[in-house]
């Protein structure tokens, strides 16, 4: 059972990484260049961390509550995803990096950093919701 959750997590991480790296490349090339602040390696690693945590969380919640586990897990995943946007809103770009980002963009560009990062926070969760039916045929019905 855990194997299925793990495979779902790995596939979620892989596809979310592809989407996020593509989005970041487009943003850096056509809008504001934040590649110095957030590189592709960091994006892929973040996707894997979140997706593997999803696998572990989903497994234990569904094991503890077989009937309502999926509902609770989905609610938790959505809540955590929305709460995670507080991280880029509070994040302070290190001064050395900020100086370089300002040089390749313009003064005050760091204000756009959350706009760059926040959409990517939703990629793993969206991918998980899209792929889950392929791995688990029987989904929990509503109350």
């Amino acid at each position: 059972m855990f194997r299925t959750y793990l495979f779902l997590g790995i596939l979620t991480a892989t596809l979310a990484s592809v989407g996020a790296v593509g989005y970041a490349s487009f943003f850096n090339k056509n809008l504001f260049d934040f590649s110095l602040a957030l590189g592709n390696v960091s994006i892929v690693a973040a996707c894997f961390v979140s997706a593997i945590l999803m696998s572990i969380g989903a497994f234990f919640i569904n094991k503890a509550m077989p009937k309502r586990g999926e509902i609770i897990f989905n609610f938790l995943l959505t809540s955590v995803t929305f709460l995670s946007i507080l991280v880029p809103l509070k994040f302070q770009i290190p001064p050395v990096i900020l100086a370089q980002i300002t040089a390749v963009n313009f003064e005050g560009v760091e204000g756009f950093f959350p706009i760059f990062v926040i959409p990517m926070h939703f990629f793993p969760a969206m991918m998980w919701y899209s792929l889950r039916p392929l791995f688990f045929k029987n989904t929990t019905r509503g109350i």
Partner: protein, 178 residues
């Protein structure tokens, strides 16, 4: 043993990704060996590709030499449209003049600042510049930093405009190691 395989795999993936994430964020603190940034009210940017030779000896300024070239096509203003426009004939004309060069002719010292006099060649126009340089030792080499102003109109880079200032402030930082 077989039961442990997938939990262990999950743990390895999680720890590995978390470690990669933390170390890749740490690497952000590492600044590239050089940066050539130009700043104005609008636009600002950098030239990402530079090559050259620097000979620097504090005790023998006569032997010092700065021979640098920047690839015009590596310009990055943070705006794709602006980058393309910068390469056109009206601005840097990258097809005809692919490089900006600076070759020093004299190095002097006053107080703690060095002054490098040399020829700056941009878009086929050569002008003599005296550039202030702060040199600080870094390992077996030196880091050179400073700033100066360039009038783009002198080099026929764009036309006089109310929108784009004529003077661009150039900030540079480069490390030369032995």
């Amino acid at each position: 043993m077989k039961k442990l395989f997938y939990p262990v795999l999950a743990a390895i993936l999680l720890v590995g990704s978390a470690w990669t994430l933390s170390t890749s964020l740490d690497k952000l603190k590492v600044v590239e060996g050089y940066s050539i940034a130009f700043k104005s009210k609008d636009p600002s940017g950098t030239f990402k590709k530079m090559k050259g030779d620097i000979q620097f000896d504090e005790s023998d300024l006569a032997s010092c030499k700065f021979d640098l070239s920047f690839e015009v096509s590596s310009i990055s203003t943070g705006n794709g449209m602006q980058n393309k426009k910068a390469l056109t004939a009206e601005w840097f004309d990258a097809a005809k003049y692919p490089q900006i060069t600076f070759v020093s002719t004299k190095v002097e010292k006053s107080d703690n600042t060095y002054y490098v006099t040399g020829n700056l060649k941009m878009k086929g126009v050569t002008k003599e510049y005296k550039i202030p340089v702060t040199a600080s030792k870094k390992g077996t080499g030196f880091t050179f930093t400073g700033k100066f102003k360039v009038n783009r109109i002198d080099f026929k880079v764009g036309k006089k405009s109310d929108v784009v200032p004529s003077y661009m402030e150039i900030n540079y930082s480069m490390t030369a190691s032995k």
